[in-house]
Subunit: 193 residues, 2 copies
């Protein structure tokens, strides 16, 4: 594994999502893996950390999540903006070699079958907390974060370090129609840094 | 009402939240109004637009939401960073004049009792979709957006216009310990603008 990828304490895992980035969702089952983009993912609890993510019934990734009971939420960065838009625009059902065409490289961490997307800034390995009513009615899935990781070049000691990392590490915040915003300047209340 | 505040088509209301800003939640019941900050709010559906927000049982705002069945999610901006941090750090239960001390000014739009916070960039007036299990187990509330508004100096024709508005209009993205990020540069896939 890339030596820059370090574990994140579960108590601080929520911070990877707290600023509302667009994420990638990966899942696998029966030898098939898929990755989709999701703007609608959010922290839900601190400890044990839980998150929500909206997975449309039309997505192939959702079927893999339902069958395996696991998914990974990862925080992509500016260097991956084309990849992020591509995995969000193409379906594995239509394009069997979607991941290769989108330039997605997968890796695994020990003890977990669900693959992670290489090149991201942070990763939350999640176990589905089964809530069939939410899943059916709202496409809303709850995951308990069982393991969290981050690239120490942009997140270390429990903090994002966007200001010292290069612009390619900024998180992505999708709006619509191919338009994203990158995260901007850090502001600490009472002082501007 | 401030003439800059214009209605947002419900079809495009999700765009006010899609980039993951920290929000303010306001509610009223029985002559009492409160406002809190929430980093954990997210779009849930396009049409009719629905959103989620996590409201801790310890907050006074939650009690007003439960009693009235309504709340407003509003998107604050850099000019309101102190206000946002203050309403998120103080409880109406301890500080009866919380809103005055935090510099919160409220206004109403016709047909809706729930007050809006003046000076924000966008407002989503929401009716609670009752889901007692989610509310009790996860502090997770679902709201259907019944009316949406934005300040045309930063959001118009269904689009954020951060790049032409001043830096005081940038949305806030909270991490922890008083640290926020402002939203940054717009990037359209395939071109940098």
């Amino acid at each position: 594994m890339d030596p820059h990828i370090l574990p994140v304490e579960l108590e601080k895992a929520y911070r990877l999502l707290n600023h509302g980035p667009t994420v990638l969702v990966s899942a696998t089952h029966g030898g098939v893996a898929d990755v989709m983009a999701a703007a609608w993912s959010c922290a839900l609890d601190f400890m044990p950390p839980k998150i929500t993510v909206v997975l449309d019934k039309a997505t192939s990734t959702r079927a893999l999540v339902e069958r395996s009971g696991y998914f990974v939420i990862q925080v992509p960065n500016m260097a991956q903006i084309e990849l992020t838009h591509a995995v969000g625009s193409m379906s594995l059902a239509d394009v069997p070699d979607k991941l290769a065409r989108c330039g997605v490289e997968l890796f695994r961490v020990e003890g977990h079958e669900t693959p992670l997307v290489a090149g991201c800034s942070g990763w939350l390995i999640c176990k589905v907390v089964p809530e069939p009513h939410n899943q059916q009615t709202y496409d809303l899935f709850i995951g308990e974060v069982v393991s969290a990781w981050a690239d120490c070049r942009v997140f270390r000691n429990g903090h994002w370090e966007f200001e010292s990392a290069g612009p390619e590490w900024r998180s992505l915040h999708y709006i619509a129609g191919g338009t994203f915003y990158a995260i901007g300047d850090k502001v600490v209340v009472g002082k501007v840094s």
